[in-house]
């Protein structure tokens, strides 16, 4: 346990090394969120009705801003890191370490997640909480949200790791990564809330794991119907857990199979 804590703390201090980077990222995100805000304000202003698909303007903006914050919080650059390590040969040293490589990867990025939770997600949440003025309950839903986010973090890691493993074969980082990014962002509800999607597409998305990353935690936080303690919350969290188990088992098997055929040039 101690070694994982050490890795996490190392990740945190590494992030703190680049304070200017944090500042620019926070500032950039603020400007980005105002873009999102103005766009949806204009969209709702042109709409004949106040409520579209059961979402008011405030609902939508809370959802999207928190989705962006959650995206920044959960984001891990594993695909890039891994392919750089393969190219430079640094992966050999990591593989020799007396820890499971996947666990090692997780904890060396976990520190980043912890930092971005405090630096981007928490401030955004506080601002949204006060701006939304009573729209967000501070009760049991927060605890459930925390549980759900924990699963989302693991899920996101599993997806990243699976995709990174594909890169061992293709030597194409950019292409694989962009495919992953565009699919995850659309199908998880991070760009447009999933309730806006046409019926058919929503059924397809229901069978995919991506919505468990952003849509499920956010709906739990906002206490949407079907995501409350009275109805449905446990089945949603169970679904997240099942996807977590499936993807991490698949990812582990795929990785263990693939790692044998890594070829490192030099290093």
């Amino acid at each position: 346990m101690k070694k994982y804590l050490a890795l996490t703390i190392a990740g945190m201090t590494r992030t703190l090394q680049f304070r200017l980077g944090i500042l620019v990222t926070v500032l950039g995100n603020l400007i980005y969120m105002t873009l999102v805000y103005y766009l949806w304000k204009a969209i709702y202003a042109s709409s004949p009705s106040q409520i579209v698909n059961g979402m008011t303007f405030t609902d939508t903006i809370i959802y999207l801003v928190l989705a962006t914050a959650l995206f920044n919080f959960l984001d891990m650059y594993i695909v890039w890191e891994l392919s750089r390590n393969i190219q430079s040969g640094a992966i050999c040293l990591d593989l020799l370490k007396p820890v499971n490589y996947r666990v090692y990867m997780f904890f060396s990025f976990f520190g980043d997640n912890v930092m971005s939770f405090f630096l981007t997600f928490l401030p955004t949440f506080v601002v949204v909480y006060f701006v939304a003025d009573g729209k967000i309950d501070l009760g049991l839903n927060l605890i459930m949200f925390a549980i759900s986010v924990a699963f989302a973090l693991l899920l996101n890691f599993s997806v990243e790791m699976l995709v990174a493993t594909i890169c061992l074969y293709t030597e194409s980082t950019w292409g694989i990564n962009i495919v992953k990014e565009s699919i995850v962002l659309l199908f998880s509800g991070a760009t447009i809330p999933l309730v806006f999607f046409p019926e058919g597409l929503r059924t397809v998305i229901g069978y995919l794991p991506f919505r468990c990353i952003y849509d499920t935690p956010l709906n739990i936080l906002l206490e949407k119907p079907g995501y409350t303690l009275d109805s449905g919350i446990w089945s949603m969290i169970a679904l997240q857990a099942v996807w977590c188990i499936i993807l991490s088992l698949a990812g582990r098997a795929f990785w263990n199979f693939s790692v044998r055929r890594i070829t490192v040039n030099g290093g």
Partner: protein, 274 residues
């Protein structure tokens, strides 16, 4: 020897064009050897465009118009922005490698060549997959154009091409500045990532912003010039704002400023010592 130096001083566009073709040919040859990478990247590019279009489509399924702009007009701006962003993708892609080269010290090699550093660095990479975006954007633009019933004649086509070329300069300028920050800041990759995300909002009319943000998105992060100001010239020829007429001028100005900023960094660069 003397003659050689005199010859070197006279470098017109022809000289640079010949060099450019030679460098690009080398890049394409080296890319050919990674065929799988090329196929996957092209597929990835296509998929991002399809996904981008899907989110656009889903949005308009729910809302018939945005700020007085109907579906086909917005589609026009969407196609326009995709085409205007293609030169950035195809010709200026090497900016993404600048940070790594500066950090590792490899960048020093550009400083020793007797040609313009910026030109040499940028010309080293031609991103073929960006052409997929051009095809996709052109398809969208032509479709919107036909649906809107905009007349087709030589004058309007020339106008369109000129507008597209000048519109492309804005995002190039933004990314030049974002990339050049690495000469001063360690690990500045995030500046580029943050800035690159703004391009997705270039396709929406700037009239949705008000106050300070309208000024920011027009003059500081000039995404309003990528599709809205040039697009309005063709979409609504009766109500062209002054900024649309000035947009070619601004494009050249922004590009020149970003070039100067980039060169400022490159000229002060003195390697890593290894």
């Amino acid at each position: 020897m003397n003659k050689e130096i005199i010859k070197n001083k006279k470098r017109g566009l022809g000289f640079y064009f010949r060099i450019y073709c030679k460098i690009i040919a080398q890049d394409l040859k080296s890319k050919m050897s990674y065929r799988a990478d090329f196929i996957i990247s092209t597929f990835g590019m296509l998929l991002t465009n399809i996904v981008g279009f899907m989110s656009f489509y889903i949005l308009f399924k729910n809302f018939p118009s945005i700020n007085g702009w109907n579906y086909h007009e917005m589609l026009f701006l969407y196609g326009f922005s995709l085409i205007a962003l293609t030169p950035l993708q195809c010709l200026f892609d090497n900016n993404w490698n600048l940070r790594m080269q500066v950090e590792s010290g490899d960048f020093i090699k550009y400083c020793f060549r007797p040609i313009n550093i910026f030109f040499y660095f940028i010309s080293e990479v031609f991103d073929v997959k960006g052409l997929g975006q051009l095809v996709f954007g052109t398809g969208v633009l032509v479709y919107a154009w036909t649906c809107l019933g905009i007349p087709v004649n030589i004058r309007i086509i020339i106008q369109l091409i000129l507008l597209l070329i000048t519109a492309s300069l804005f995002m190039i300028a933004i990314m030049n500045v974002a990339a050049a920050t690495c000469f001063w800041i360690v690990r500045s990759g995030y500046v580029m990532i943050v800035m690159f995300r703004f391009k997705d909002y270039a396709r929406y009319p700037v009239s949705i912003f008000d106050g300070i943000f309208k000024i920011i998105f027009t003059f500081v992060i000039p995404i309003a010039f990528i599709a809205y100001y040039p697009g309005i010239v063709i979409l609504r020829p009766n109500e062209i704002p002054l900024l649309s007429k000035l947009s070619p001028l601004f494009g050249i100005l922004f590009f020149w400023l970003s070039y100067r900023f980039w060169m400022l960094g490159a000229e002060k660069y003195d390697g890593t010592g290894s």
